[in-house]
């Protein structure tokens, strides 16, 4: 039941290293709907993992179970040595709630809808958790926050309110906010899916930098170009478990499983209208100009 047969220490990891994230035998039911079916996943320090699959395949649920935004129905999660088993039928005691919080601070989530706090300025969004949760002094938290705003290139927006930022800027602030907690692993839940197509690039660029600088990342995405560029392994998930796993050049460019092939073909046609038109037999009108 346990152990990820596909995982191996990444290039940045010395041999014999322990995984930083270990998902074992994870099951999730929504009511009677079986969403995750015994998922095992190991991620080593410095690795970037991409989870791909159809909507409803369970990839976002898996991500949300890792930091317990969803209560798993069975199995366990271990993040940076903090192990917590599923407890779907009882209320957690104070010790377990504390462990849950430990896991959350170590595994920071970046959401599709950004979820910046609209009543707080950018800098206040960034220092809220360091001050309240980690007990960092305010001045020091501000200095750290400014450093991470530099990382995402938005230092000059420090006093702006979130509603005055573009979608791409919001998501970059959200990434900076996650970084201020100095997490062991970053969880990205379709971080560019809510963005105007022209703003996707700036967010992916920041994420690629993070991946190349050795951050550990688990990314749910439909951006195959990003996966190709940044992922150490790509996991294709279907009907609640992994179907095909491997380096991006295998899974994305030469998928072996029929389901992976179908998914990628459909994704390609959706992102490329000319391909759809071709398949449907509609003549493609060249764009004017």
């Amino acid at each position: 039941m346990s152990g990820d047969p596909y995982a191996r220490p990444g290039a940045l990891t010395p041999a014999g290293a322990e995984p930083i994230v270990r998902v074992s035998g994870l099951e999730k039911y929504y009511g009677r709907n079986h969403v995750l079916r015994g998922v095992n996943l190991d991620v080593y320090p410095g690795e970037t993992i991409c989870l791909i699959g159809r909507s409803g395949s369970g990839k976002s649920t898996l991500l949300r179970c890792i930091n317990f935004l969803e209560e798993p129905s069975a199995g366990s999660i271990e993040v940076d040595g903090v192990l917590l088993a599923a407890a779907p039928t009882r209320k957690r005691g104070p010790d377990e709630l504390e462990q849950c919080r430990q896991i959350r601070t170590r595994a920071q989530m970046v959401f599709q809808e950004f979820n910046l706090f609209p009543h707080l300025s950018v800098i206040d969004n960034l220092i809220l958790a360091p001050v309240l949760v980690n007990g960092v002094a305010r001045d020091q938290a501000i200095a750290t926050a400014e450093r991470f705003l530099d990382v995402v290139g938005l230092r000059e927006k420090r006093d702006e309110f979130p509603n005055r930022l573009s979608g791409g800027q919001k998501q970059r602030v959200a990434i900076a906010r996650a970084l201020t907690m100095e997490p062991k692993v970053l969880l990205f839940d379709e971080p560019t899916s809510a963005l105007d197509p022209t703003l996707v690039g700036e967010v992916l660029l920041v994420m690629e930098d993070l991946a190349h600088e050795g951050s550990t990342m688990i990314v749910v995405t439909h951006e195959m170009a990003f996966a190709r560029e940044a992922a150490d392994r790509v996991y294709f998930i279907d009907e609640g478990n992994f179907v095909e796993v491997g380096p991006p050049e295998q899974v994305i460019d030469a998928p072996r499983d029929e389901r992976t092939q179908r998914f990628l073909a459909r994704l390609k046609s959706r992102q490329n209208p000319e391909a759809v038109a071709e398949v449907a037999g509609i003549p493609v009108v060249p764009a004017p100009g």
Binding site: Q102, F111, E113, F117, S121, L132, V133, M181
Partner: protein, 275 residues
């Protein structure tokens, strides 16, 4: 936002833009003029009707009684302001109870809302003032008024706050939890500040309603605006005139409060955009 009001059209604008702006200003002015004219005509007609319909009463002189009646405004405001403050407190706890997974808190809060919304305010006032002494609890008139008003409005505002808390997007809670905030801090730092913005118009609305419902406290002899109006009219049998005066004063009060409400709402919405 400041300083962006168009005072005049700066030079160098295309003539059509200048013409459109001028026409826009003319339309706004003309709308306002006709709006206020409509008010003046209708209010004038009603006042005229009252004056014509009322037999002249040589024993009643308004100027003698006006200061006495207006003096009741103070008590009306004391009742309303202290009651709305207490009501908001009750409402925050009531709403948390209504959303609690603890059956005892949830049950108590739901019973409070059901019971208080299910009985008339005047009955609640009389129950506290006349009913409680039967079990040995004597509450003076003014505190009775404040307790009854705040309990009553607290129940309505409980539902307002509950809806306000539920209107804060779930993503906000998830983001706060992901950052490792304990549940108490999620509520205090993220959910409640946003809920307060959402419910501010409704609370201001209820406050305006409460200034008028405070007239019910006249029944137990609290010297507020409405009781004073009745007392002023009684000796000369001019209660109709004095109550009309009270109505006018209530109306002016609510107009002033509505202006405050508009300003408050504007400031609240600006908070999201700019400090």
């Amino acid at each position: 936002m400041a300083g962006k009001e168009l005072v005049g059209s700066p030079p160098g604008l295309p003539p059509i833009v200048v013409a459109i702006e001028a026409s826009g200003r003319r339309q706004t002015l003309s709308f306002r003029a006709r709006f206020f004219l409509t008010w003046a005509v209708i209010v004038g007609a009603v006042v005229l009707l009252i004056v014509v319909a009322t037999k002249p009463n040589p024993r009643f002189h308004l100027q003698d009684w006006l200061p006495f009646i207006v003096g009741g405004v103070g008590m009306t405001l004391v009742l309303s302001i202290s009651s709305i403050v207490i009501a908001v407190f009750l409402a925050v706890f009531g709403a948390l109870g209504r959303l609690s997974t603890n059956p005892v808190f949830n049950g108590a809060a739901s019973l409070y809302v059901s019971l208080v919304r299910g009985t008339p305010l005047i009955v609640q006032i009389l129950f506290i003032y006349l009913g409680l002494p039967a079990v040995g609890v004597v509450v003076p008139a003014v505190p009775t008024g404040i307790i009854a008003l705040s309990f009553n409005y607290g129940a309505y505002l409980t539902e307002v706050f509950r809806a306000g808390i539920q209107a804060v997007p779930q993503g906000q809670v998830e983001a706060a939890r992901s950052l490792g905030l304990p549940e108490r801090q999620v509520l205090r730092r993220i959910v409640l500040p946003q809920a307060v913005r959402i419910v501010t118009p409704a609370v201001a609305n209820d406050f305006i309603a409460m200034t008028k419902d405070s007239a019910l406290v006249a029944t137990i002899g609290v010297e507020e605006l409405f009781l004073r109006a009745q007392e002023a009219g009684r000796p000369s049998n001019a209660t109709f005139q004095t109550i009309a005066v009270a109505a006018a004063i209530y109306w002016v009060m609510t107009i002033v409060l509505s202006l405050f409400q508009a300003r408050l709402e504007k400031r609240m919405s600006e908070g999201d955009r700019k400090r």
